[in-house]
Symmetry: C2
Subunit: 363 residues, 2 copies
């Protein structure tokens, strides 16, 4: 435990606060659609993989953590779904009378708006709620204290911008771009290397915290093996945002150096990359790993306007910290106006699997 | 667990937020002085009463809760002191190599400013920090999940204003007053009855949450057996605030009905009352119970100005909810101007023991 608190604190970019027009609370529709696809898979994972007799052998409490929970409502729905799946499992095994008590740990960066989270906790919840401030790229819980860990759309955030991207003299200098979608191999490699480092820390910390037999359900943006990062939908949108920024550079509204020095600390792993990291860690067995299609739950063509609003809710913080609120508002406005252009780009580059669903069991 | 979330939510009056001039953070000097007196007694309790071998028999984690923690810094100091005392205990028993991991649960109402609390967590803390939103007059934790419970200057808050005080037709109608310091016996009895109800719920909930052998350290304002409530220092200040309010009624600034309908939901038990409640609950043994003198750590005469500022930091919320911010600011200003008068009143009525220190062990 000695260094769980002294490690350098990873950067934090909280979701947009409160419940205003651009808030995360009001713009998490796509995230919800993605979770709905995962919902059935979570239910199956609990039904087939959760060994309730082992997990509650020494205590009558089941401890569940949601890592990168943000402010709701998705985290509440995800937790409710988990609890219902566990209760069904108890029923099916004829153990209804032995139903444990549930303690749910809502985790996100200390800068997350926990006040809003706590104020909006479902009044009819069937669990004891707690908040855990801190980066999941660090120890957050005592050893062997968690039975079930859940994380949805959080594990694509890197702990920091990869090294080299900001260095003019580095081959990975990411000039004029904010992501690696269409960047050089060096830039892509710098991102991948940072992801490997972060995931090593993540898996090591979770291996210490999760009891033997405990499960970890991870849902995050993913890219099918061998697909180039340039075909990742969110990456296309990031490029689009970058082009709006470069338009503003050309109009003299911002300095080009400001764009050069900004890079989104986000990475989208493939199943193969993820499997390798889990294997290298050695403490978890892969119970299920699948690329799914979150769009299958949303009818009709992609609503790019909604998608941009959604990204804004989740990512405005990281942009604003660097560019300031006005520039970022302008960037999103400009991008929204060109959304028809982006729409055809997204449809043409569409790949079926963009959501990685992963169930790991602590060995 | 079925009703731990559905019970009517007790009223919440958060401490003043942030770190401004009237904030709790900047005005908890008297509370700190009171805690300092308790510090040595806490150290003794841990050294003599904590059975570390029993508590960490099944797990290597020691779970500690601070109930009514507010926003710091006192809660951080109290937790640090507890941890140091526990570590000394391990050293003295030659168990240094078996030091457990610590998980600290900071509890207060959901309306408490957890964002400020989390932002100011000591970077060098040797524990895993979590926040638990909710009233301690309700279940907050899974059964048998806590080893050590601490609460300082929180357990004098009632869950609500006692019944009858607001009813014109009740013998306990508390006309023209905001507390029971100089009120009728009926009013005092209504307060005492509410305290009994609340403490019954508190002790029942904690008995379920604390493991057998676990300790509960409670520090709260107390009144020596047989002393009339009119001699309680804070009560004198409440009367003083009420007289400022009545001055404002006479000047037509507020309506008398507004004063009639306001009562501070605070009660100061005597050791005898407390002992009876613990005995009636039946799940705890009294390891120590003592009235102490928090003033012994502060030199010179009472600084009434500071004392009022202190009360303002802790209690402005409950006043403002009823009267509005402007009236309450005016009330505190007027009271500050008359502080010389209050000072002599306080000195003359001074009783030595006003802080109740209690160590209970879960049987």
């Amino acid at each position: 435990m000695s260094n769980h608190h002294s490690a350098s604190v990873p950067e934090s970019f909280p979701m947009n606060c409160g419940d205003g027009a651009y808030s995360y609370t009001k713009n998490s529709v796509y995230q919800k659609a993605a979770s709905d696809v995962a919902k059935e898979m979570v239910n199956e994972a609990i039904a087939e993989k959760l060994e309730i007799k082992i997990l509650t052998a020494t205590s009558n409490t089941l401890r569940i953590a949601d890592l990168g929970c943000s402010v709701g409502p998705n985290t509440f729905k995800a937790m409710q779904n988990l609890l219902q799946a566990i209760e069904r499992k108890y029923q099916n095994e004829g153990l209804t009378s032995k139903l444990p008590e549930f303690q749910v740990f809502f985790n996100d960066h200390a800068a997350n708006d926990f006040n809003t989270l706590f104020a909006s906790l479902p009044p009819d919840r069937q669990y004891f709620a707690t908040g855990v401030p801190g980066s999941f790229y660090d120890r957050l819980f005592p050893e062997s204290s968690l039975h079930l860990v859940h994380s949805s759309y959080a594990l694509h955030w890197l702990s920091k911008v990869p090294e080299g991207l900001l260095d003019k003299n580095s081959p990975a200098w990411n000039k004029g771009k904010i992501y690696h979608t269409t960047a050089s191999n060096e830039v892509v490699n710098a991102y991948a290397a940072q992801y490997i480092k972060d995931m090593e820390i993540f898996l090591k910390a979770r291996a210490e915290e999760i009891v033997v037999g405990g499960l970890m359900v991870l849902i995050l943006p993913g890219l099918s093996d061998g697909t180039h990062h340039s075909r990742f939908p969110a990456g296309l949108i990031f490029d689009f945002l970058a082009s709006s920024l470069m338009d503003m550079v050309n109009e003299g509204l911002i300095n080009e150096a400001q764009v050069d020095s900004f890079n989104l600390p986000v990475y989208t792993p493939s199943p193969k990359e993820m499997a390798l990291l889990v294997e290298r860690n050695g403490c978890f067995s892969v119970e299920r790993m699948e690329l799914t299609d979150p769009r299958s739950n949303i009818e009709g063509p992609i609503d790019v306007g909604k998608l941009i609003m959604h990204l804004r809710a989740g990512m405005e913080g990281v942009f604003s910290k660097h560019f300031g609120h006005e520039i970022v508002a302008e960037m999103f406005e400009r991008s929204l106006q060109k959304s028809a252009e982006l729409s055809s780009l997204l449809e043409s580059s569409y790949t079926k699997g963009t959501q990685l669903f992963l169930v790991l069991k602590r060995k």
